[in-house]
């Protein structure tokens, strides 16, 4: 007879007995595998595998690149004469950057520019990657229109490490992208590196000798002369350092002069002189802090940013127009003018900056002017750019500092992870403190993103309590 007690006993017994069968374990496994295969895993596109060659357009080194493509789309980039830097390896992801600018008020920008120029406004072009054929064109146009051609500080020389036996570096991030890393390490075993730098940078960590304190440079160079040709570097290759290299007999050997060009620093422009500013930010490049630019603008000046992303000058104007970005754009390598062939077509709606500024496309690039073999143009200005996969380096690991962090010595009194303010001459920015015993007491390590540069300019910021 079926009673309630019997039914409960049967169900409980069945449940207990099931545990001793493979059923629950099979169910767990199968449900795990089933849930793993819910839709959401993208399938890579297939197609004919092609290889294309170009030059990397992300810094003045212009490394040769071999692109592996599926159809026309690059799926990986590799160096030809040496491996690429982290940015170069992921350069084909730039068109898909979450901050990519995809549309902008083109007609309105043209109308406001025409109106301003017709009203006698003095134009200016800010070219963030000087030394290209496009740069020469901008310079010519501005000369014709009595405007200003402006650019970030440009290196006066290329550097040939192969000719040096001793390198004295004054805080130059020699192994961190100042020159193409592969070209540095191709000759690394042939020179001794003395790094003079207050903090333990990556270059200092791998230098043959790290001098945290400032030293008498002439005495140091003289004492090392017996080991062979001495090359002295500082970040911008300043006139004093060039003179010292000339004294040391390195002119034309370890330092190779680049063609002279008229000055284009923004500091030479009188305040309030620019009535219409056109910014060519069509590729990852250096960034001049906005507070350095803003005083040069006349009241009501029209600012048009021809930009590939929203994180740069597009934050400072409503007239931000989208441009192609590497590897979509046809361009040339700064100073050597070697052509950079586009690997993919740019999306619809982007604006060619040269065509917009000059009124017509660039056409053929200027003839290449090769440097002395082994010489590389340094990247003297910061490039605050990363690709989406860089999250592997600063989010998913601790390898790089996050843009919203600042590093201090533990004696600073801050706690790790403490919220604080990065205080610069032009404002404050919320950051999180990271303690690093490799940082000199009193110094600050920070990531020079456009947002950070906008609050501190080219001077080192301070960290203050929030």
């Amino acid at each position: 007879m079926t009673t309630r007690r019997n039914a409960v006993k049967f169900i409980a017994g069945a449940a207990a007995g099931t545990v001793f069968t493979p059923v629950p374990w099979k169910l767990i496994r199968d449900s795990a595998l089933w849930s793993e295969n819910w839709p959401g895993v993208p399938r890579p596109a297939t197609g004919e595998i092609k290889f294309k060659q170009t030059r990397c357009g992300l810094c003045p080194a212009g490394c040769a690149v071999r692109a592996r493509c599926v159809g026309e789309q690059p799926v990986s980039l590799a160096g030809i004469e040496g491996a690429l830097c982290p940015l170069g390896v992921t350069g084909h992801h730039l068109p898909f950057h979450p901050s990519r600018l995809k549309s902008g008020p083109v007609a309105e920008a043209k109308a406001r520019l025409s109106q301003a120029l017709a009203g006698g406004a003095r134009p200016a072009v800010l070219d963030l990657r000087p030394g290209r054929t496009a740069s020469a064109r901008y310079r010519q146009i501005m000369a014709e229109r009595k405007g200003f051609y402006l650019s970030p500080p440009r290196p006066p020389v290329a550097v040939n490490l192969a000719a040096a036996k001793v390198v004295i570096s004054l805080g130059v991030p020699l192994f961190e992208g100042w020159l193409a890393p592969a070209r540095v390490f191709a000759v690394r075993d042939h020179f001794r590196l003395v790094q003079v730098e207050p903090s333990l940078s990556r270059t200092a960590a791998l230098a043959d000798q790290w001098l945290p304190a400032a030293t008498d440079l002439h005495a140091l160079a003289s004492s090392l002369k017996s080991q062979g040709q001495v090359l002295v570097l500082d970040h911008a290759m300043s006139p004093e350092i060039l003179a010292l290299n000339r004294e040391l007999g390195g002119w034309g050997k370890t330092v190779v002069p680049l063609p002279d060009e008229p000055p284009a620093e923004i500091a030479v422009v009188p305040d309030g002189a620019i009535g219409a500013l056109l910014i060519d930010e069509s590729g990852p490049g250096p960034y001049i802090p906005w507070p350095e630019i803003a005083p040069k603008l006349a009241p009501g000046a029209v600012v048009v940013a021809l930009s590939w992303w929203r994180e740069g000058y597009a934050r400072h104007t409503a007239l931000a127009l989208p441009t192609p970005v590497y590897p979509e754009s046809a361009d040339d390598v700064p100073y050597t003018r070697e052509p950079i062939a586009p690997l993919v077509k740019p999306p619809a709606g982007v604006i060619d900056p040269v065509e917009f500024i000059a009124g017509q496309p660039l056409g053929a690039p200027s003839p290449a002017s090769p440097l002395m073999a082994g010489a590389v143009v340094p990247r003297i200005a910061e490039m605050p750019v990363s690709t989406p996969l860089f999250s592997k380096l600063y989010n998913e690991s601790n390898l790089l500092m996050h843009p919203h962090q600042a590093a201090l010595h533990p004696s600073s009194g801050f706690r790790p992870g403490e919220p604080a303010l990065l205080a610069g001459a032009y404002g404050n920015l919320e950051i999180e403190v990271v303690l690093d015993p490799g940082i000199a007491p009193g110094r600050v390590g920070f990531v020079p993103t456009p947002a950070v540069l906008d609050i501190c300019g080219f001077r080192e910021p301070q960290v203050v309590r929030a």
């Binding site: 496994r29 795990a32 595998l33 849930s35 793993e36 819910w38 959401g40 895993v41 993208p42 399938r43 890579p44 596109a45 297939t46 690059p74 799926v75 990986s76 160096g79 040496g82 491996a83 830097c85 982290p86 390896v89 898909f96 192994f175 961190e176 193409a180 890393p181 540095v184 390490f185 690394r188 903090s199 333990l200 990556r202 270059t203 960590a205 791998l206 945290p212 996969l389 860089f390 999250s391 592997k392 380096l393 989010n395 998913e396 690991s397 601790n398 390898l399 790089l400 500092m401 590093a407 533990p410 790790p416 992870g417 990271v434 303690l435 690093d436 015993p437 490799g438 000199a440 390590g445």
Partner: protein, 279 residues
């Protein structure tokens, strides 16, 4: 018979991360939004280690850590209930089959090198970036463990093309030439100044590191050198021997340094990275 492995010259590693990015590009590893360094996916990960001194006596170095492709008593193989991990006897490569993986993460607990990573989320790339995926490697689904397989897509492509050798993406991308991939049977690594991570565990890792700096070579073994090894702990029990769990040495983490915590905290063992400081 091959025995693929790597020699990594720590004295040339600048910690630029090109190997990590090239690995992600080659193996279709997505950028994980919202992940931290304990939940990220990095089949090869570069740790910053230091000599423990304060400024200005501090010195640091970078150690790329990937699956060590253990050749003896491979811990992850022993613990996997799904037989989703195997050692290829022809190459010595420890493979991972995500289709079989249950996501139990026993292998992650067993791995003394923290070289295995769990897919916490569906793989997602920024809009349109799926077009840049490598057609030779299938993206993995959520809920499975993944790790370095010495770029099996490249190995298969090389085999199909009849090539005897190939180069994994990290070795190809290293701008300083610090990473060398080779058949260790044909090209045994030099003995001088060479070390392996946690060598005393007896797992026969196939990644050899080189540094002329003595304090860097010490990073290969944790500070608790007196702890027993696998061999010391063996008891006369064949089944236990076969499935013997590898004892985890204790890390001597310096908790005063914030960026250390995630590394040392993942599991109490490892490389004793006293600190992974600023980049």
């Amino acid at each position: 018979m091959k025995r693929y492995g790597m020699t990594i010259d720590i004295d040339r590693c600048t910690g630029c991360g090109a190997c990590m990015l090239a690995c992600a590009v080659e193996n279709n590893i997505p950028p994980v939004n919202g992940a931290n360094d304990r939940k990220g996916l990095t089949w090869i990960r570069v740790y910053q280690v230091d000599n423990g001194e304060d400024f200005p006596n501090r010195r640091s170095a970078f150690i790329p850590v990937l699956c060590q492709h253990c050749g003896h008593e491979t811990p992850c193989v022993h613990v996997c209930p799904q037989q989703a991990v195997d050692v290829d006897p022809a190459t010595g490569i420890v493979g991972q089959m995500p289709e079989r993986c249950l996501g139990c993460r026993y292998c992650m607990a067993a791995c003394p090198y923290h070289a295995r990573y769990f897919n916490w989320w569906d793989p997602k790339w920024p809009v349109g970036m799926e077009r840049t995926l490598n057609p030779d490697v299938a993206p993995r689904m959520r809920g499975v463990v993944e790790k370095c397989n010495f770029c099996h897509g490249r190995r298969h492509a090389a085999e199909q093309a009849g090539l005897a050798e190939y180069t994994p993406a990290c070795a190809e991308a290293c701008p300083t030439g610090a990473i060398h991939f080779t058949d260790l049977n044909a090209h045994p690594p030099a003995q001088a100044d060479t070390f392996r991570l946690l060598d005393r565990l007896g797992t026969d890792p196939k990644i050899y590191y080189h540094s002329s700096r003595e304090w860097v070579r010490r990073q290969g073994e944790p500070a608790s050198a007196a702890r027993p090894t696998v061999a010391d702990q063996r008891v006369p029990n064949p089944s236990r021997d076969r499935k013997g769990a590898v004892p985890a040495p204790v890390a001597k983490a310096d908790s005063s340094r914030d960026r250390t915590k995630p590394i040392a905290g993942r599991n109490a063992d490892s490389l004793n990275p006293k600190e992974a400081s600023r980049g």
